[in-house]
Symmetry: C2
Subunit: 386 residues, 2 copies
């Protein structure tokens, strides 16, 4: 249901009532009309397909923020210390998260490393693990054990394709001055790997995570229906100018140029069903974001979980794509991941446009507190309590 200017309108149902096998997503969704005057929105069971919930005290603080931010499904990244490389670790981690907040559906992933075997993939699938995440070595938080080349993992990918698991790619190559490779072209230079993997494993579902460039958007579009792409909330707003000298806007992949940001906005406005939200919400203690020394820079990561659904609505409205919110934050990703909604498992989250709501300055206490993105700034949407 959508309320425009206070008048109730009936929408065409987007929610699928049963799980299905992958199907072509190449035809963009048709625009459903301008939504700039919406004042209330109801979203069926929002799903965040890329979340960092950390461990220990930090996990205790941030895990409840998934639900606070409007989401009932969270696709959980495995870059812990030590990384989540086995089914047993992933199940234990899920149990930890469920102990903190049992109301969220946590989809678990394994960290791709040389220790991962085709046998472990079969075991993981049987245990309900959904995907495997690949980190290039050294490009982001806790990625020291990341991969250096993909061919050695082909037996693993073959097994993943066979049992229908998802490969999640952090799509950046490591910087290398000799080849003029740096953090601004690391993603475009990765795209040949995406195409190679898709060609070698055409039935393997692959997600290019947190795309930041026009090149990445175009590359994913040219791929078949088994390749999708997540987009964060913050990359819809930031460009390189915003994180230069501003550590709270610094993340990996770094935000790129205005034209790249426009490509992300365009593909959402277009309603392309293979592009959906993965917030990459990544909490760090405030001191690791606010302070640097000449030896130690600040941590990479932007935290959006507790305000995620209102924030995404705020941004989509700013570039005239609010009518694509439901697809972007719920149905597109759920369809790709075979987590489509049934009548029984759908929980509608209602947001109202309320004008000037100021985002919290921090969550948690003292030096362990976390500063959210958009802290102290205004969002015009707010979740209506149940």
């Amino acid at each position: 249901m959508v309320v425009c200017c206070g008048r109730w309108q009936r929408e065409e149902p987007e929610v699928q009532l049963s799980r299905t096998e992958p199907r072509p997503f190449s035809a963009p969704q048709q625009p459903t009309g301008r939504a700039s005057k919406m004042t209330q929105i109801s979203i069926p069971s929002p799903a965040d397909f890329h979340v960092h919930l950390r461990q220990g005290q930090m996990a205790t603080l941030v895990t409840p923020h998934v639900r606070k931010g409007g989401f009932s499904l969270a696709y959980i990244m495995p870059n812990l210390k030590p990384p989540v490389t086995t089914t047993a670790q992933a199940l234990a981690y899920r149990a930890e998260l469920e102990a903190i907040d049992p109301t969220v559906d946590y989809l678990m992933t394994l960290y791709l490393s040389p220790d991962l075997t085709p046998e472990e993939i079969v075991k993981a699938k049987e245990a309900g693990i959904v995907g495997v995440k690949s980190y290039p070595r050294g490009v982001t938080t806790n990625s020291d054990g990341g991969i250096e080349s993909y061919e050695m993992y082909y037996p693993v990918f073959e097994a993943m394709q066979r049992v229908n698991m998802v490969l999640n790619l952090h799509g950046e190559v490591p910087s290398d001055a000799k080849t003029n490779t740096h953090i601004l072209n690391a993603e475009p230079k990765f795209l040949t790997h995406l195409h190679s993997l898709h060609k070698a494993f055409p039935r393997l579902r692959i997600v290019l995570e947190h795309a930041t460039t026009r090149a990445a958007v175009e590359a994913v579009k040219t791929c078949g229906p088994t390749v999708a792409c997540t987009i964060t909330a913050h990359h819809l707003e930031l460009t390189v100018d915003d994180w230069a000298g501003q550590s709270f806007n610094f993340c990996k992949p770094v935000a790129k140029f205005p034209d790249d940001r426009e490509a992300l906005r365009e593909v959402i406005r277009e309603g392309h069903p293979r592009f959906f939200l993965g917030s990459d919400s990544a909490p760090h203690p405030v001191h690791s974001k606010s302070t640097s020394t000449p030896i130690q820079g600040c941590a990479a990561g932007i935290y959006t979980s507790p305000i995620l659904l209102p924030l995404v609505a705020h941004f989509l409205e700013s570039f005239d794509a609010l009518d694509k919110l439901e697809g972007f934050v719920s149905t597109f990703g759920r369809r790709f991941y075979h987590r489509e909604l049934t009548v029984e498992n759908t929980h509608h989250v209602v947001m109202q446009k309320i004008g000037a709501h100021v985002v919290e300055e921090k969550y948690g206490a003292d030096e362990n507190s976390v500063v959210p993105f958009w802290a102290g700034k205004e969002i015009s949407w707010q979740i209506v309590p149940n």
Copy 2:
């Protein structure tokens, strides 16, 4: 004099013994041979053609560092609060600096603004003011009063050309998402202005300050002998990867890509006489570099004055250009600025290669201290006390 492996060698004299009018600089200096085994270097009166010495307490701290870093001439930037826009202000500022350290030759500049008249230019020239600095609006520290278009200043430039003053350009256009203009392409996009100004005022000496891109190097090379270019020490070392999340490496213009850095190194290795040192040494109190809030990012600026000559030697040696040190830090800039050396005014600074000398962690006390570039890292060259 240069000592190679302990053996004294006689150099061809590079020092000019009288002032001359501008002359063509387009022919690159011929290589004088490899210098990778030098252990002692003597440089005649090093000159830094772009320095920020600030005001008040900060000026008291940093002004003596010009000499400490091996330099006896400093070309002083006018972006104070309020900016130095009149001859009277510039002379008063020079007197302040001379009161702190009278042993340095301070060349003064005015801040280009709508208040600057051709009459003031004539007055400034007669008073010994050397140049006029142009800041695009809002691109760096204290540039809120910077210019937005150049044509309104043509009468001022005409007067500057007539009386033989130098125009110093901060060569960046302001960011603008609509035209995909951002801090990484702000300098290349500025170069059309450089060419227009040079074409309109072919006898006006122009310096493109702190070049950071291959495009800028190539643009200056194509200009006539009245256009030169300064290069900082830190841009010989840093790339975009180094300042991402590391506020102590953040400055404007931001360091660019490895290929751009290579272009800066190449033009120095080539010994091109229109490319010389302007450190853009820019001190900020430590807290404004080390801490950020979501509202306030860190200050832009890198401080190199107190270690400048050893640092430049260290970097030039790293890319096999140590034999070009004398031209880069003394004779090229002096020739362009008509500050060539006489026997009487030459003071040789001798450096020795001493192995592991660690750069100070900070200068000054407490919250007003300043952290230098390369803090805690090693430099292999050290100035020999007189």
